[in-house]
Amino acid sequence: MASSNSATSVASNSGSPCAACKFLRRKCLPGCIFAPYFPPEEPQKFANVHKIFGASNVTKLLNELLPHQREDAVNSLAYEAEARVKDPVYGCVGAISVLQRQVQRLQKELDQANAELLRYACGEISPTMTGLPVVGPVNLGSYGGGVGRASSIVGHLYQTQAQAQAQGQVQGASIAMPMAFNGSGAWRGGGSNSSANSNASGDQKEGGDSSM
């Protein structure tokens, strides 16, 4: 077999070996499966992936996927590998835990805010609490003068609270039906939410709706 300096630097298309072949110190052939996804200017990307998953495992994984899925797969592997390099104990599972706690905290805050809004809507927080005489919309007519202003304010308050209550119900419903990421950057409704409750002991989880 002929070997020359130029042969070692032969790559698929660009003329320089891809980051994977450069790392592995091998010839980067035209059909190199890594070349499209590990450009030579990003050496660390392959270094991380190789360290965590190994070149042969990545090759097997990519060979099982359709060509249009491979870029996303490589990027997610690179993300996980980098997370594992930075946090050798938890990897990106640590990030998932942090995000889950943040979701729980925000949900609790939202529930509290909705409860407070509902208290206004139900009249739990009203002028009657101050001991002042209750002047309902019906009685306002006997006072003349600034009646129009008072009744319009009352009417607007009830209307605003009703709107808020209606919106709160819609928003509450959307939280109860989480969305799923379909991999192309778009969100759609009706996905499963079991992943938020999975643990790190090997239990199954729903990873989304991307399929081979």
């Binding site: 998953f53 996980e80 002042l132 308050l157 989480p178 090997g202 990873g207």
Partner: protein, 154 residues
């Protein structure tokens, strides 16, 4: 050693399970699937290398997270557990937006309520004042009437 069962890792790799096998504490013989999953995604040697650099106290958590990631990758070969991260990030954005909106509505309700309180106070004051002036005018009329009666000897 001959009488002891090899760990799940050594059993799968068809090798002798030595007493100081680094994988044995975390891949017991009665949980073979756990190592199968991890080996398929990460490879036995990579797992062993990862555990070697960790302190003993953290290795169990590391294995758990590796099993989690491996499981996720097998279920979703394209995105693995990064799909969960994307989903959670989306939830957070949505919740933050809703929280901001709800908090704005609460503030709006508070302001309207305060305004209504002011109106009620003003109306209450006006009501009291009008009642006092009616009493005064009635008293003046009655007094005037009495005086008129005296003049006309009624």
């Amino acid at each position: 050693m001959g009488s002891e069962l090899p760990c799940a890792a050594c059993r799968l790799l068809h090798r002798k399970c030595s007493p100081d096998c680094i994988l044995a504490p975390y891949f017991p013989a009665d949980q073979p699937n756990k190592f199968v999953i991890v080996h398929k995604v990460f490879g036995a040697s990579n797992v062993a290398k990862m555990l070697q650099i960790l302190a003993d106290a953290t290795r169990e958590d590391a294995v758990k997270s590796l099993v989690y990631e491996a499981n996720a990758r097998l279920r979703d070969p394209v995105y693995g557990c990064t799909n969960t991260i994307s989903y959670l990030q989306g939830c957070i954005q949505q919740l933050q937006s809703q929280l901001k909106s709800t908090q704005d509505q609460v503030i709006d309700s508070q302001e309207q309520n305060n305004l209504l309180l002011q109106v009620y106070k003003e109306m209450s004051h006006t009501h009291s004042s009008s009642m006092n002036s009616s009493f005064i005018s009635t008293t003046v009329y009655q007094t005037a009437s009495m005086e008129n009666c005296q003049i006309y000897n009624i």
